[in-house]
Symmetry: C2
Subunit: 243 residues, 2 copies
Amino acid sequence: MTAICPSRRDDARATPVTGPAAASSDRPLDPPAAEVRTAVTVPLRFPDGYAATGRVMTFDGLVDGREHLAIGLGDWEGALARAAAGGEAPLVRPHSECLTGDVLGSERCDCGPQLREAVERIAETGGLLLYLRQEGRGIGLYAKLDAYALQDAGLDTYEANVALGHGEDERDYAPASQMLRAVGADRIRLLSNNPDKGAQLELLGVAVDERVPTGVHVTDANARYLAAKVEHTDHTIALPDRA
Amino acid sequence: MTAICPSRRDDARATPVTGPAAASSDRPLDPPAAEVRTAVTVPLRFPDGYAATGRVMTFDGLVDGREHLAIGLGDWEGALARAAAGGEAPLVRPHSECLTGDVLGSERCDCGPQLREAVERIAETGGLLLYLRQEGRGIGLYAKLDAYALQDAGLDTYEANVALGHGEDERDYAPASQMLRAVGADRIRLLSNNPDKGAQLELLGVAVDERVPTGVHVTDANARYLAAKVEHTDHTIALPDRA
């Protein structure tokens, strides 16, 4: 029932890439311009009753051909206009898809609560949520669940990806930068605990004026996962002591 | 901002298919056996506080190569054993991915509340949730949002798909039948309002002992969508009168 095939890969990428250095050698730092394909207004209501309105945008010309979304929340157009006039940059969260966390509320990670928090914080101030189709830090859903099985056998979240023949983090923020530039957000406040996201976006031509940390969403099931993020990739997460 | 390209298609399928008749001409009625690839236990907690435990399973051998999931909930193994001994069949919901509804709580459809309801009802009795990667009734996320733009111009949910060059419903339950048979659920109680799902599964070798309707999740934004489901494809949804 739990056979693992370490050599199997779920997407067409030939070479694992990790972080901004890999991005710089793997693709141009100035990705081509994308443009908005369709924009529709969608009323949103979460299971806890919180409601907002999103302007959901799709794009033509994204470099990886995947169906990423940008979602304008709150007075996002006003926030872009204020930034263009030299004011504060809009709040932006690039959120990488996590089916188990986002859809099913998995407590093995903190993706679901981070997404829910991001929607509300962005709606309050006006900005954009980017929903990036790079599941499992870019290795895909099936490989992520293979990695979960390895984690159950003792590896941490990064070690498990590597044991499966993947990079520790294969995410690529080039499409995120294309979407931001397509809507005129070439200067942002980045809602993230992950310093690598900011570094990659800067390399891709998006100015990160400030990095705004998210809340800490710790559970019994994700404490080890969050600790690995802090210890291994310098995420700014204030975890309680784990005695 | 809202340009539509009717001839653009988002996946590799050459021919739109609709319902069981199309399934019968388009692919074998007896899809090959699949097997479980990985199974991991995932604690789940939804934003409203409801918690459950899922046994999340991936598969080798699914006919379309997509990353579909089966999620065992409650005493799903006991339910399968009881069915194998001639008792009541397990409750099963095949849920087709809807990023806007499942992840963001879009009120343009009823997918989010249906998914949340399904998890709880299945967990109570023991059974399986199938999470099927066939977004937008099979046309894909970007095409679905193109269709939303057409709906904003007056078309209903089926007309919009056709106007984009797609079938009204391109979903295919062959992978669902493969997953069910891989875990030993060749006889089910189907949690669905959609008669076509039951008909397709029967053609694919899964016995549907009973079809159990879901609740009605109507909002101002989805009333027209739900009415089209009732009027056009005989969904069993008891809608309030729309005066």
